[in-house]
């Protein structure tokens, strides 16, 4: 019995009138935990009752502490009839179970009713006394910290990164139980809310146990999702990355290491292993321990904020590297071996992190993804989650083998998702294949002896763009050139990844949000026929989405995508694909070619004219975009087009600054396109449409930028004004004669209009950037498309923002091209070649995915799109897995650049002294952001994870302002409840906030609607850095005021 939970009910306010006669309420409170219930006295005739109860004490197992939510119900006492419920508050007490998080939960919580919404507030105090439990076989995992943040949390240091943890639990959905026919909607909703709360508690506890087994103490990048499978049940699943974290305790540790990474890197000679993929020799060191540790070197731990003393160490590191670097090669190969073997021992070498300590990521191979269409079984046994487990295990296996095919031993930026329609479910997983630095993955015991030498070996930045696979034995045809930065290694010409832009990557100009949008009609069908139809459509969709992304990227004049997220949504009669990513120009990658249009019908004058008109438009657009995003790469001196076999190093040419070359740069004619250009062949109206749609994307109005990653390259002076928002749109398609084109256009317009609306609404924040723009598409009904967007708008200081990272660098330019010209004709070849040769068998045929994976020729210049499918023989459900591996490229990073990092917090400017804590200065205001940081502020404490699930239902839709009024109010209420919980934990912000689900259903004829929302994030305390001496005199006084209550805000 290792815990005592204590609860005190203080007061209520703004209660609703429950007694019409007196216009007052006789309220009392029931406090329930597990099976124990306490009640307060009835406070007669008041809308602002003061209960001031005694401490209600619950003596409970810590297992229950983790699983159960504290349930507080406010009721109106009625002498003659049943007491009426006013509403409830569920409090997750998990944050009280870690030693470093919150110690008390105390504050005003909105009283929530699933039918009426928020009805007043209640003031509650909750404490937990935890006794130590020495039982080794315990079922609880108290003390394991959870973070939604997909990087090492700011005030921690990662001692060891253990790796992937996953778990899922299933249950029957109360909404579909027989009893639901006779109980009220309120009772049903509450049963569901409570069940999900219980299940996520259980899930978190189980994951915690796995972490303890791995000897970790935290889960980073924790992502928990619900699958509402309807009649077949409810699945709650979670993935994360187990770590051992150390709290940086001394205040000095928060001091900035603002320029340490760049400086020290500069001095490290570039020393890249020329052939990183020697699988060949060397005794593989068997590592008994399954964990691989990541030992943060003191000097490189930007993530863990190196302290003052650490800073003093850095020069040593840099200087010592000179000679030792030479020996680094073989040594490193050995380590790689060790790393690989260590990773191979893990079932899944996956990491849900998207941002890493510098040096962690050695090479990026490409995006790997896998999808599988499943039929949900009707009979379902809650005690056997094995089926679902097996489904995911298969997908993960696929991902792993794809990564291997790309010469990578790990997958980073890994995520999983589902889309369910009736009994069909698409499971998707994606990530970025990568090679991780052995230094960070060595076994803990070796740390001491290896660390010293390894530090000298760090790749100096451009390494992550270099191909990890053997270029003579490439998994797919790719167009390789020498890295534009270091000239030593090969890089692909385009790089796609699911991770955030590494902080040390050198980017030219600014980035932008790039989206590919696609709809495909599908016949309505049942069960297996339906699953087959979907499986057959999937590869085409993936291919088209990919083509669109590539075209749009070229149109922007950029060469890399970060944060790529492809969502395929299944509906009754259509499939939707939406891919979002942030395009950037990586200095290490070659300049992208233009797009060329070729007509199919020669000798048609007007047609030719039309073509050339289009061509001109495209060229203009590219030129305009380059200007807009300030992409002025240094002109390439020479290009060597030739064999992929490494040639002797060419002499390099020095370009001192971009201004020198600026006059040459912008020339955009077809000469540049001859080799590099993408050729779009227009042979029918479809293709015409495609070209048109390319040109319909309107750039954001001036003063606006947008990206779906955390940081916008090229902007480094954020001010403190942030505005997180959620926007939801639902459109009804006219059902008459829907064609794919009409559908595409509707969908495209929907997304574009939504973005336009956002720009308009946020115009008062200009200049500003929409960061972490997250689109979610769902198809709630036949003719309805719902798009939900959550993002944060951050203002930046215009004057300072213009100092983009200028690549004034010596640049040696050597390029080798693997391509001959035929390869450039991508679309047709791909269609005629690869697709027909790989028809997708409807079922029954069993292809080994691994074998098909390696043999697929389909490629558009270093991008392979390979689909393999295999159908399970099991007849109870059809399984078709579409696989797709996309390869990636890498941007080289200049070793010499001393530019300020585009640090999200403007660390360079603000971080020199720690601000005095002013915890009470922002009482009442809780900021919310999907990012892992707060601009202009330091996070001093993580208080625990926020994971909330709400259901709202109405039977008076019209009276509540229709669907818009209903959902608007509900989302506002959800925000309010999140803020209230954070404030009660003593926090003033939620970071890494995400709305994971927003399921909306309406029945206007019955005047009813229902909505389910699931949100999560990390509650934190942040301290503003505003009063520090600042280079920029432009302190955001004016900006921060509206967001901070009280005049006491420090400015």
């Amino acid at each position: 019995m290792p815990g005592k939970l204590k609860v005190k009910i203080v007061a209520g306010r703004h209660l609703p009138v429950m007694d019409r006669a007196s216009d007052l309420t006789d309220a009392f409170v029931e406090v329930k935990f597990g099976n124990t219930t306490f009640k307060t006295d009835v406070y007669l005739k008041s809308l602002n009752p003061q209960w001031n109860s005694e401490w209600f004490k619950f003596e409970v197992d810590d297992e229950d502490l983790q699983d159960e939510p504290l349930q507080i119900t406010v009721l109106d006492h009625d002498t003659y009839s049943a007491n009426d419920a006013i509403g409830k508050v569920y409090i997750d007490i998990d944050p009280l179970l870690y030693s470093e998080a919150a110690t008390v939960i105390s504050g005003w919580f909105p009283i929530y009713d699933t039918i009426h919404g928020i009805r007043g507030e209640i003031n509650v105090v909750v404490k937990v006394d935890l006794f130590n439990d020495l039982n080794r076989f315990r079922q609880s995992s108290c003390g394991v910290k959870f973070f939604c943040t997909t990087s090492i949390p700011k005030c921690y240091r990662a001692v060891i990164i253990h790796g992937f943890v996953e778990e899922l639990v299933v249950n029957e959905d109360p909404e579909y139980q027989w009893i639901d026919r006779i109980r009220t909607p309120r009772a049903s909703n509450e049963a569901r809310q409570r069940l999900i709360s219980l299940m996520s508690g259980e899930l978190q506890r189980k994951i915690g146990l796995k972490v303890l087994e791995m000897r970790g103490n935290a889960v980073v990048g924790y992502l928990q999702c619900f699958d509402l499978e309807g009649e077949s049940g409810l699945v709650v699943r979670a993935i994360g990355t187990a770590c051992t974290l150390d709290k940086l305790s001394s205040p000095a540790a928060f001091l900035p290491a603002c320029n340490s990474p760049s400086k020290e890197m500069k001095e490290i000679p570039f020393n890249e292993d020329p052939n990183p993929n020697t699988h060949s020799s060397g005794p593989s060191t068997p590592l008994k321990n399954q964990t691989y540790s990541f030992s943060p070197s003191k000097s490189y731990s930007r993530q863990s904020s190196s302290s003052d003393t650490d800073l003093s160490l850095t020069p040593k590191t840099g200087m010592g590297s000179g000679s030792a670097g030479k020996e680094g090669g073989p040594f490193k190969a050995l380590l790689r071996q060790q790393t690989q073997s260590a990773l191979e021992q893990r079932e899944f070498p996956f990491f849900t992190l998207t941002a890493f300590p510098p040096g962690f990521l050695v090479h990026v191979g490409g995006v790997v993804s896998a999808r599988s269409v499943k039929l949900l079984d009707r009979i379902h046994n809650p005690d056997e989650p094995e089926t679902r487990d097996a489904w995911w295990a298969e997908i993960r296996q696929e991902i792993k083998s794809h990564a291997k095919a790309l010469g990578c031993h790990a997958v980073v930026g890994y995520s999983e998702s589902t889309s369910i329609c009736e009994e069909v479910c698409i499971l998707s997983a994606s990530g970025t294949a990568a090679v991780l630095n052995p230094r960070f993955l060595q076994d803990g015991t070796m740390e001491g002896c290896l660390e010293q030498r390894l530090e000298e070996n760090l790749p100096a930045g451009c390494g992550f763009c270099h191909i990890p696979y053997d270029e003579l034995n490439m998994p797919f045809p790719a167009h390789l050139t020498y890295c534009c930065n270091c000239r030593k290694q090969k890089v692909p010409d385009v790089l796609f990844t699911t991770i955030d832009l590494p902080t040390d990557a050198i980017v030219i100009g600014k980035g932008c949000l790039i989206q590919a949008r696609l709809c495909r009609l599908k016949k309505k069908a049942q069960a297996e026929a339906n699953a087959t139809a979907i499986s057959n459509l999937l590869p085409f969709m993936e291919y088209e989405v990919h083509t669109q992304l590539m075209n749009k990227l070229k149109l922007k004049g950029m060469n890399a995508l970060f944060g790529l997220r492809i969502q395929i949504t299944v509906g009754e009669n259509m499939l939707m694909g939406l891919a979002s990513a942030t395009g950037v120009y990586l200095a290490a990658l070659p300049t992208p070619g233009g797009i060329q249009i070729a007509g199919k019908t020669p000798n048609d004058g007007s047609y030719e004219q039309h073509i050339s008109h289009m061509q001109k438009k495209i060229n203009d657009t590219i030129a305009k975009n380059k200007e807009l995003y300030e992409i002025n790469p240094p002109e390439i001196a020479e290009e060597i087009i030739g064999s992929p076999i490494p040639e002797p190093r060419q002499r390099s040419r020095l370009l001192r600054s971009q201004s020198e070359s600026s006059d040459e740069v912008m020339e955009l004619d077809l000469s540049h396109g001859k080799k590099d250009a993408f050729v779009l062949e227009i042979d029918d109206t479809d293709a015409m449409e495609d070209v048109h749609s390319l040109l319909t994307d309107v750039p954001p109005p001036s003063g606006f930028y947008s990206c779906n990653t955390e940081i916008m390259p090229g902007i480094n002076n954020w001010t403190s004004e942030i505005q997180m928002f959620t926007s939801v749109r639902v459109i009804r398609l006219s059902s008459l004669n829907l064609t794919n084109q009409a559908l595409n256009k509707n969908f495209n317009d929907l997304c574009e209009n939504l973005l336009k609306s956002l720009y308009f609404k946020l115009r008062s924040m200009i200049p500003c950037c929409l960061c972490h723009v997250n689109f979610t598409v769902s198809l709630p009904e036949d003719e309805l498309i719902q798009v939900t967007v959550t993002a944060v708008a951050i203002t930046f200081d215009k004057n300072q923002a213009l100092q983009t990272t200028k690549p004034h660098v010596e640049k040696s330019l050597q390029r080798a091209s693997t391509d001959n010209e035929e390869l450039l004709q991508f679309p047709l070849e791909l269609c005629s070649d690869s697709l027909p040769s790989h028809p997708f068998p409807p079922a029954k045929e069993h292809l080994e995915s691994a074998s098909s994976n390696s043999g697929i020729p389909a490629a558009q210049r270093a991008t392979s799109v390979d689909y393999s499918s295999f159908a399970d023989r099991c007849s109870s459900w059809i399984e078709l897995i579409k696989l797709k591996a996309q390869t990636i490229r890498r941007g080289s990073i200049k070793t010499t650049v001393t530019v300020e990092k585009a640090s999200p917090m403007g660390e360079g400017n603000f971080r020199n002294r720690s601000a005095p804590p002013c915890a009470n200065s922002t009482v009442g205001v809780v900021k919310m952001t999907p990012l892992s940081f707060i601009p202009g502020a330091k996070i001093t404490k993580y208080l625990g994870i926020i994971n909330m699930f709400f259901i709202r239902e109405t039977t008076s839709l019209r009276e509540e302002g229709g669907v818009s009024g209903f959902l608007h109010a509900f989302i506002a209420e959800v925000f309010a409840m999140v803020r209230a919980h954070v404030a009660a934990l003593g926090g003033n912000a939620v970071v890494s906030y995400i709305m994971k689900q927003c399921v909306f259903m309406e029945n206007p004829n019955k005047n009813q609607a229902q909505c389910l929302i699931n949100v999560s994030g990390d509650a934190v305390i942040f301290v503003r850095e505003s009063e520090l001496e600042v280079v920029s005199a432009q302190q955001p006084t004016a900006n921060c005021q509206p967001l901070c209550t009280g005049g006491e805000v420090t400015t």
């Binding site: 109005p701 926007s727 302002g961």
Partner: protein
């Protein structure tokens, strides 16, 4: 393709001041969109009409949800649903309770009852203010009235405390409440030249000097329930005013008063002869107004009487404002020199306020 649902919810609630004004002015969404289009916002921002429509709808929905809270402004401060910076909260409240001059002139002094509410149609037609806006303003008056009507203490402070209005706006509301409670007639044709400001000025003087609260600055008996009421005129004081009648009823006293005033003002007034000729009429008018105030009906007609009995005669003789001031000062002061007059304090309480009011009311 039709939009079924379209919402935007910010963690910090977005408030567009221009749209708020349109909403307060009672425009429908489509009218508001049309007005915004006319303002040239599309050209400035490059937005489309559809975007504007969606934006306007969103703001209207937000305002609609906020309206419930605006009815009790302290709730807006303590509620958790909308995160709004304090400066914005103040703006929301202030604008919501702001009113149109044209509207308030129509309603001032009327009973804030259902009957008056029915007349809002006519007021709307007459003033060109939308019916919706009229209703809002009327309901605001009524709401404030209901809350502070029975309260003790300073009227302005009470309003400020319960509605969180700025000092200026709270004073205006105090005047509105005071007028509504005492039902002063303000709508007569004769009074049309007066602005709300004129009345509010008078109301403030009257609240300061003629109500129960006026003498209760330092209440001797804290338990006294009626001690500190700003809303009602001091009945006892009004009764006492009858005593002033002697000033005109006693012919000697009247003559003496006249001679004192004339002596003092000789050569100082440009309209001396007119003053001399009219003195008795004017004095009778002013004193009779005082004597009649015991009757509720006459209290209501106070302003009509003042204009009829004093302002109009003076204006017809083209008295300059400065002469009016000199006259009133002398007229008030001279009473102290009348040996037979035994109510100088009462006179000062009456005349001090009246002088201020008359000076304010004396304009074209």
């Amino acid at each position: 393709m039709t939009s079924e649902l379209d919402i935007f919810v910010g963690n910090t609630t977005l408030i567009d001041e221009d749209v708020y004004r349109l909403w307060l002015d009672g425009y429908s969404v489509s009218d508001a969109v049309a007005l915004r289009v006319r303002s040239g916002i599309l050209e400035q921002t490059g937005a489309t009409a559809a975007v504007l429509q969606s934006d306007t709808m969103d703001h209207y929905r937000t305002f609609h949800m906020l309206e419930r809270l605006l009815h009790a402004p302290p709730k807006l401060l303590h509620q958790l649903i909308f995160q709004i910076p304090p400066s914005r909260q103040a703006l929301l409240i202030e604008r919501y309770y702001a009113f149109d001059e044209a509207f308030v002139r129509e309603v001032l002094g009327k009973k804030l009852s259902k009957g008056t509410k029915k007349d809002l149609d006519d007021i709307s037609t007459k003033t060109g203010i939308t019916l919706k806006s009229c209703r809002r303003q009327f309901d605001n008056f009524k709401r404030v009235f209901k809350v502070v009507e029975e309260m003790r203490g300073s009227l302005v402070d009470n309003i400020q405390q319960h509605f969180l209005l700025s000092d200026r706006l709270a004073r205006d509301y105090a005047a509105i409440v005071f007028f509504a409670n005492n039902r002063f007639e303000t709508g007569k044709k004769k009074l049309q030249y007066l602005s709300f400001g004129d009345f509010a000025f008078c109301a403030e003087l009257m609240i300061q000097n003629w109500t129960l609260g006026a003498i209760g600055e330092a209440p001797t008996d804290p338990d006294s329930q009626v001690d500190d009421m700003d809303v009602d005129l001091d009945k006892e004081f009004l009764q006492d005013l009858k005593e002033l009648k002697v000033l005109v009823a006693d012919k000697d006293l009247l003559d003496l008063h006249k001679s004192l005033v004339c002596t003092a003002l000789r050569g100082k007034l440009s309209v001396f002869s007119e003053m001399e000729a009219n003195f008795k009429n004017l004095s009778r008018g002013l004193v009779n107004v005082a004597a009649k105030l015991t009757h509720n009906k006459d209290v209501r007609d106070l302003f009509v009487d003042l204009v009829e009995k004093f302002v109009e005669p003076c204006r017809s003789d083209h008295w300059p404002l400065n002469d009016v001031r000199l006259f009133l000062n002398q007229y008030s002061a001279s009473v102290h020199s009348l040996d037979g007059f035994r109510h100088p304090t009462l006179w000062d309480r009456y005349m001090g306020t009246l002088r201020g009011c008359l000076l304010r009311l004396y304009h074209d």
